[in-house]
Amino acid sequence: MTKNGGNMKKQIMQGNAAIARAASDAGVKVAAAYPGTPSSEILRDIASTYPEVYAEWAPNEKVALEVVSGASFAGARALACMKHVGLNVAADPLMTLAYTGVKGGLVILVADDPYSHSSQNEQDSRNWTRFGKVPMLEPGDSQECYEYIREAFGLSEQFDTPVLVRSETRVSHSDTVVELGVPLERTEPAGLDKKEWQKYVMVPMNVRAARIKVEERIQKLEVYADEFKYNKMEFNDTKIGFISSGVTYNYTKEIFPEWSSLKLGMVWPLPKKMIAEFFGKVKKVVIVEELDPFFETEIRAMGYKPFHGKDVIPTMYELTPDIIEKSLKGNEYKAPEIRVNPADLPRRPPNLCVGCSHRPLFYALNKLEAFVFGDIGCYTLAAAPPLSAIHTTVCMGAGVAQAHGAMKALGKVCSVLGDSTFLHNGLTPLMDIVYNKGNATTIVVDNRITGMTGHPGTSRHRFYHKG
């Protein structure tokens, strides 16, 4: 296969495809990921379309981030991709990579899933950026996916830091026009250097020195945020203006094109001078953001009083242009005419594939009237009737350990998890059961593929995308 759309300068691309293309054009040498909706297409696209980038499916997100950080330490540009809950798994390396910094640009793409279309919870990944003391960019369409990813590698090297880029379902899975830039001239990685051990060995003595560096870096980034080209102010009618980021900016702009706006391409650190100027020029500032009051909390702490924010904008689920319009217009909102009430339509929840080997297993467990600790994967769908044979689902690998805990409290139970989930985080709890003399039954369902996310391979079957 050739590059998506060949070398056509302008093309329609999915957000995830634009991220993959940007990785290639930014000179990325190593990319790793664990599949998870809505991030999965990125690594698939890199692997199938850009042979100059080494791409692998790692057994979990922690390993993926560790793999690419090794490449970064060696001086190569490297990209890790995951969904929001994946970053929980990769949080351990992330928090310390903030201290070591990087050599080759290191970018972590995290794709959120507001409304939890395909996830076990709803998280606002912007919270990692303040917690982890690393910057974060947030694109709102495919063009921005392409540009921000390229920009993120430059930022990473300039400020010696991992850079988070947050996408979400609507950004990752929408197709918009992308005007491509000139690919970067590929260079050889700078290489490893033993003399740099104090930068990379995070023992307390070095941690304390790095801690100062981390603080200074975030201060420098805060100054830089005011000049950052993707933080943009637009002054139209200055009676009202909105502060927003990502796709939420597009929604608000669509509904209120006459208002002024401050669009934050970098969601952390915040551009303090720009915010001061915006509050100075605009009479009523409305903060429109999806999920948590991330900007609002910070901006209120700076001493500003927004006209509206989370007092009217919902704090959960996805935003849409309609929801924003309704929230801000109140009684003046005129709902579009609905010809068919969605509640009247038959529900079509996702189901296990016809013929899948998971079906007879769950049929058997149902007949045995077993309580089943479940896990994350397509087999979670067996929770629904008529199979009704999954009774818990928390996070990758949790079911194995939960069955052990329940057994210690109550008596023998079983857990079910898929083969990919078993390799992701199921080995350590099984070891725990043996070591601590449990008797839980662990059932691994192996349909030879990571089913839920479009069939990327697992380590068991060596369906690597490369090699």
Partner: protein, 49 residues
């Protein structure tokens, strides 16, 4: 190639069973046996064993 049976054994699981879930009666028997055992057990359901 990762071998789940070998992994289970290396982790110390003594009772490891492989079943073809399409053979439902056999699968139910194995599940019943394993769930009655007072020791850790690992059941591998492979659709083409």
């Amino acid at each position: 190639m990762v071998d789940y049976e070998e992994i289970g054994r290396a982790l110390g699981v003594k009772s490891i069973r492989k079943v073809d879930p399409y053979k439902i009666d056999e699968t139910m028997e194995v599940l019943k046996e394993e769930m009655d055992k007072d020791e850790p057990s690992l059941v591998l359901c492979v659709d083409a064993p």
